[in-house]
């Protein structure tokens, strides 16, 4: 049975389901991170994301949700030309329609030569948040998300840094008046029991529609610290 072949509608009071199941996805994502082998300091972003997607897809709770996860999802033009690559795409399992997407960035990175970079500009830049604001990555999606892998396990500092960076670029980021990086209403559910995980959201006016952009900061802890 295809969901598109269903006709008619239930009266709202008999519809047992919610408006969206983003909280379940975000909670599953945070949980998968906690269960995953911590990334090494030099592990590249794509590899971390691939492993996180694998952990999530193999999580029994996520398997109960009717969504499918596609890592490294290519965005293609009409003639098949490659326009960009989304780190994680969630699709409705039955219809394969798009539901949610994540773009991932490493934060607080120490490069092999010893140079340290916060990577806040990258996070809020053209290949980060701006990719959603430009419209291409968020096409037909009412909500999207940014994943920040905080490589030095200082998510509080990363949160403050991103708050400032996003505020400084609020015009380019088309932030809705009054919107700023703020703890998400979903954060209590999502981060319960997951030490150091931050969940926030910003609201953006894309002209065609308003975009709800989640920010999930995931701290990289060493194995020994996790087991304390």
């Amino acid at each position: 049975m295809n969901s598109k072949t269903l006709i008619g509608s239930l009266e709202p009071k008999f519809n047992p389901f919610g408006e969206d199941y983003l909280v379940e996805i975000l909670a599953a994502m945070a949980l998968a991170w906690a269960r995953m082998k911590p990334p090494s300091p030099n592990e590249i972003e794509d590899r971390i994301t691939e492993r996180l997607a694998g952990r999530l897809a193999n999580d029994a709770q996520f398997a109960d949700l009717p969504y499918d996860i596609v890592p490294q999802y290519w965005l293609l033009g009409l003639n098949g030309e490659r326009l960009g690559r989304l780190d994680l795409r969630f699709k409705h399992r039955n219809s394969r329609r798009d539901y949610f997407a994540f773009e991932a960035k490493r934060l607080h990175v120490t490069y092999p030569g010893g140079r340290f970079s916060t990577e806040y500009p990258t996070y809020a830049g053209a290949n980060g948040m701006m990719a959603f604001i430009g419209g291409y990555y968020s096409k037909q999606l009412p909500a999207c998300g940014m994943l920040g892998y905080v490589m030095d396990n200082k998510p509080g500092r990363a949160w403050t840094g991103l708050e400032k960076r996003i505020e400084a670029r609020r015009i380019q980021l088309r932030l809705i008046t009054g919107s700023q990086l703020a703890r998400s209403t979903l954060s209590t559910t999502t981060s319960s029991g997951l030490r150091g995980t931050y969940l926030g959201e910003t609201q953006h006016d894309l002209g065609s529609h308003k975009l709800r952009l989640f920010h999930l900061l995931l701290p990289v802890m060493t194995s020994s610290r996790r087991h304390k």
Binding site: S3, L10, P16, N58, P66, W74, G80, R93, S95
Partner: protein, 450 residues
């Protein structure tokens, strides 16, 4: 063809036979080197099956694990038929005709191979006769002579379609076999893992994966290509996606196989093997973290879909087209309600189901009710007028196009209930269908709320 139309030569196309593959999915698959899988998984795979298979794609493949373990192995030897076989023959020496040989016949031992199962290479070659021209194989030359590493135990030997598979611990040198078989050979320190691999390849899980992933198995010949078998998932116990109890599961499975390696009398061997396979199934599934819903997909594929392929007799029973029994209909309804109730946010609304069945019209009408009280599944006799109307709707929804007849059925919401009308075939009313239908209903209702 369904069981009604087979005699008049009309192909009946049911709604779920129509699979959509977006241009994007094809291009994405090409860019990630998974183009073949996108086609083969559509033949029999439902959306649930595809998700399950995509989950397994995250595991390292068998070839990756073979590389990590530095295991060897390969395809067996090819006899040389004088005057027919192309290419230059390779001398059999320094192999000997007295070398031990494993036949690929109906007596192939499952799960564990013992010395008593072996014959000599001489006998193996003597029994190799060119099928069409009835020419005997040479006893001095071979057409294809793989390296000794292919034949050196400990090893797992399996057939192309995974219909045969056995572990051989061995201790007295190489065991030769023909190219209908393949081996994976390792070091003595890995015997337990190789025993586990033998159990995994023999498992229903691997039969399920190869049925949906192989380019031949679900549609053509009873075999999968070498590259397809090597692409099957097989994480090593220390892989981060393997079960937390992976090592214990490997040990426990190996113990079961070791029991079979002891000298069990011939008369008890088959019974012991079947018993061992049964005990290994849940251990293999646990190793791959197979969920309860995924177990349903495996069960339906093995019992309904796989036996429905390659029927020589058009009048033979086709399990996927069989009329669903009362037990099967209830299993469908219970699973549908169970999944929907689990996902409900408003706990006071419960989903229950009742059905009306018409054997004459080959239709089942199931009504899912969204109410405050959960009721047990019931079946009621539909009024004659209702069936007349449903038959009319069913015919109106059907599109006949020369040799093809497209059945459509319908799914229609009223304020507090959903009616599902589908042809009465097992493929529509099995638990796999219930899982997929629950997903479709959920998606429709969540989208409606949004």
């Amino acid at each position: 063809m369904n069981r009604f139309e087979s005699r008049i030569g009309i192909f009946v196309v049911e709604p779920d036979d129509l699979k959509l593959i977006s241009q994007h999915d094809v291009l994405q698959a090409a860019l990630t080197d998974r183009l073949q899988a996108i086609w083969s998984r559509k033949f029999w795979g439902t959306p649930r099956d595809e998700t399950f298979l995509r989950r397994l794609d995250f595991f390292p493949s068998l070839s990756e694990s073979i590389a990590v373990k530095k295991w060897s192995g390969g395809v067996g030897l090819q006899p040389y038929y004088p005057g027919i076989s192309p290419g230059k023959p390779k001398p059999l020496e320094p192999w000997s005709l007295s070398d031990r040989f494993l036949s690929n016949d109906d007596d192939f031992p499952q799960l564990v191979l013992q010395d008593r199962d072996l014959t000599t290479l001489e006998k193996g070659l003597e029994n190799s006769v060119h099928q069409r021209l009835q020419i005997r194989a040479s006893l001095t030359d071979l057409r294809r002579k793989p390296p000794d590493t292919v034949f050196k135990p400990p090893m797992v030997v399996f057939s192309k379609g995974f219909t045969k598979c056995a572990f051989y611990k061995g201790s007295n040198g190489e065991v030769r076999f023909l190219d209908g078989l393949r081996s994976i050979t390792g070091e003595k320190r890995d015997v337990d893992l190789l025993r586990f691999l033998s159990a995994a390849i023999s498992s229903r899980l691997f039969k399920y994966i190869s049925f949906h992933s192989g380019s031949n198995l679900g549609v053509g010949r009873d075999q999968i290509h070498l590259y397809e078998s090597l692409a099957l998932p097989f994480p090593l116990p220390d892989d981060e996606l393997a079960s937390r109890h992976a090592l214990e599961l490997v040990r426990e499975t190996a113990n079961i196989l070791e029991g079979l390696e002891r000298n069990i009398p011939d008369r008890k061997r088959l019974e012991s093997t079947i018993e061992a396979m049964k005990r290994c199934q849940p251990l293999v599934e646990q190793y791959f973290s197979v969920t309860d819903a995924e177990k349903i997909l495996i069960e339906d594929t093995i019992t309904l879909f796989q036996p429905s392929v390659h029927k020589r007799d058009i009048n033979a029973d086709i399990p996927s087209l069989a009329f669903p029994t009362r037990v099967a209909r209830q299993a469908y309804a219970d699973k549908l309600c169970d999944v929907l109730n689990q996902r409900a946010r408003k706990q006071k609304i419960k989903v229950s189901a009742e059905a009306r069945v018409s054997e004459n019209l080959n239709l089942v009408l199931l009504t899912a009710m969204f109410t405050e009280k959960q009721e047990a599944y019931t079946e009621v006799r539909g009024e004659d007028a209702l069936w007349v109307a449903l038959n009319r709707i069913s015919k109106a929804a059907r599109k006949d196009d020369s040799m093809f007849s497209y059945l459509r059925g319908f799914k229609y919401f009223e304020p507090d209930r959903l009616h599902i009308l589908k042809p009465a075939t097992m493929r529509n009313w099995c638990r796999t269908a219930a899982l997929n239908d629950a997903d479709a209903i959920f998606e429709h209702l969540v989208t409606e709320n949004a």
